[in-house]
């Protein structure tokens, strides 16, 4: 399950970056999202598409969500949301 979530997220980052003509930084867990090369519109698109492909939106569940800071946080947030 977790592998699936991770690879889905990574491929969405790559796809959205390509569509929006963004240069994507190497996707490591420690990568700070704001330094990834994606802007907030790109993240909004990634989140919308992950909801469609994973079938859930962890942001909609939690009250008062802290937006994840690093890519590792982001992936963990989705993995936790699946449980």
């Amino acid at each position: 399950m977790s592998v699936n979530v991770r690879s889905t997220i990574v491929s969405q980052f790559e796809e959205v970056a390509r569509e929006q003509n963004r240069k994507l930084a190497p996707l490591t867990d420690s990568l700070v999202l704001m330094d990834s090369g994606l802007d907030s519109l790109c993240f909004a698109i990634v989140v919308a598409r992950l909801e469609d492909s994973l079938g859930y939106d962890p942001f909609s569940v939690a009250e008062d969500v802290q937006f994840p800071v690093t890519l590792g946080d982001f992936i963990k947030f989705y993995e936790d949301g699946a449980k």
Partner: protein
């Protein structure tokens, strides 16, 4: 014939010769105008309605048509109920419009105590009676605006504001047979009803119980020459595979934005027809008609009086001033319909690009993506140009990042085989996204696209929008 200020619909028909062979056809019955002028669908009790505010509450369009022809000029008011009126709102309508008589093709007991005791039965059956008609009154026509659920908003028109100066087409132009996907109890349909009657033609009514294919087949059997509907009606007609059964001289789209995709699709099916897209609304009346086959309105339409209509753009929205706008809303709680300079604000937002104004959506329908505005209709216009797209709905989805994002639901054309369709969906999606990226700012491009089997269309023939 020219519309006479003092005349009624009945007067106009009575004065028009010849009337032979002129009919109003519905799916299940028809009325010959000659018989109606010499008879009654109200059991000869027309004069009981003299000077009253009459609620026309029919299940059937044809019985409403017959009633309107007889009652205009006799009643003080004609209050025309739309077919989807919720019975829960009847008391409100009756109080607001001061109704003191109800004409219906339904049995009175269906409405219980709602409608009081001044009830008159109407039908689609014409009995030959001595038609006694006293002096004519200028009846006020009350229409419901298309739009939201809740109690209907009612606007006041006259026969003159509804019909304008309709020139005779019948005498010289041969037999005109009009038809419309609209119900004639709504502004868009009522226009065509009056145009057919006053212009010397016949009319084929649509039916809510009939498929688009069956309707078009029936319209073809009557040899329709002129036909109107919303872009959604026309998309449904194209999807039915039956659009080619009619061979109209004139095709009109109104009520929603006509994008280039639907205009081109209709041009391909009707290569010889005049294809026009028009603006008209219950409040603002008839605005303009564009006949050059292109989406949008030439900028030259603004700043000069055209066909008695002045148009301007103020705060981004289309404003219309003419003798064909409604006069006012009924009911004290409503704001003024006409501004102090005589214009009606349509609430339809326009943008000027390369010498043409394009509708971009309704004032209230804007999606806010991180502080940037998106009109769903503008995005739909781009999506609908893809050859595999039948229709689309662009709407807002909540986003934790930007507040909202734009998402699209798309119905694909069915012409490709099933397996071919399945294989091609991802390609189609990416082609649509590419087209959006080419022509739209990044925040307007759908974040997600879903292919759906169908989209809901409202009773007035428009794509159903959430929160519309």
């Amino acid at each position: 014939m020219a519309q006479n200020d003092a005349g009624s619909l009945w007067d106009a028909l009575n004065a028009t010769a010849p009337r032979a062979n002129r009919c109003i056809w519905a799916a299940h019955a028809w009325i010959a105008l000659n018989e109606l002028i010499a008879g009654s669908s109200l059991s000869g009790r027309l004069e009981d309605l003299r000077g009253r505010s009459v609620l026309i509450l029919t299940r059937d369009q044809l019985s409403a048509a017959a009633a309107l022809i007889q009652i205009d000029g006799v009643a003080r008011r004609l209050v025309i109920c739309t077919p989807d009126l919720d019975l829960a709102h009847i008391s409100f309508v009756m109080a607001t419009a001061e109704v003191d008589a109800v004409v219906s093709d339904q049995p009175a007991h269906l409405f219980g105590a709602l409608i009081g005791d001044r009830f008159m039965q109407c039908s689609t059956t014409i009995t030959p009676t001595q038609a006694l008609r006293g002096a004519q009154l200028p009846s006020e026509w009350i229409l419901f605006t298309s739009g939201t659920s809740g109690p209907p908003k009612m606007v006041s028109h006259s026969l003159l504001s509804l019909a304008g100066a309709i020139r005779s087409g019948g005498a010289l132009g041969g037999a005109l047979v009009w038809s419309t996907f609209y119900d004639i109890r709504r502004y868009g349909g009522l226009q065509i009803f009056l145009r057919a009657l006053l212009g010397g033609g016949s009319l084929v009514l649509s039916s809510a119980e009939e498929s688009a294919g069956d309707f078009l087949t029936r319209a073809a059997s009557h040899g329709i020459t002129h036909i109107t509907g919303t872009p959604s009606h026309w998309r449904r007609a194209l999807m039915s595979g039956a659009a080619g059964r009619i061979a109209p001289q004139y095709v009109r789209l109104s009520g929603e934005i006509a994008d280039q995709g639907i205009l081109d699709a209709l041009r391909a099916v009707y290569p010889k027809a005049k294809i026009a897209h028009a603006f008209a609304s219950t409040e603002a009346g008839v605005g303009f008609e564009v006949e050059d086959g292109l989406a949008g309105i030439p900028a030259s339409y603004f700043g000069q009086t055209r066909n008695g209509v002045d148009m301007k753009v103020e705060d981004g929205s289309l404003r219309i001033r003419s003798t064909r706008t409604a006069r006012r809303y009924l009911g004290a709680q409503n704001a003024a319909l006409i501004s102090t300079d005589g214009y009606v604000d349509t609430g339809d937002m326009l943008e000027l690009r390369d010498g043409r104004y394009y509708f971009v959506g309704r004032r209230g329908g804007i999606i806010n993506v991180g502080g940037l505005k998106v009109h769903p209709e503008e995005v739909e216009g781009v999506i609908n140009q893809h050859p595999r797209v039948q229709m689309s709905l662009v709407k807002s989805r909540k986003s934790p990042v930007t507040g909202a994002v734009v998402v699209a639901e798309i119905v694909l054309k069915s012409e490709a085989g099933e397996s071919d369709a399945a294989r091609g969906v991802d390609t189609v999606k990416s082609e649509i996204l590419e087209a959006c990226h080419r022509t739209l700012a990044a925040h307007k491009v759908p974040a997600a696209i879903r292919i759906v089997p169908s989209l809901n269309v409202t009773p007035s023939g428009k794509v159903a929008r959430p929160n519309a």
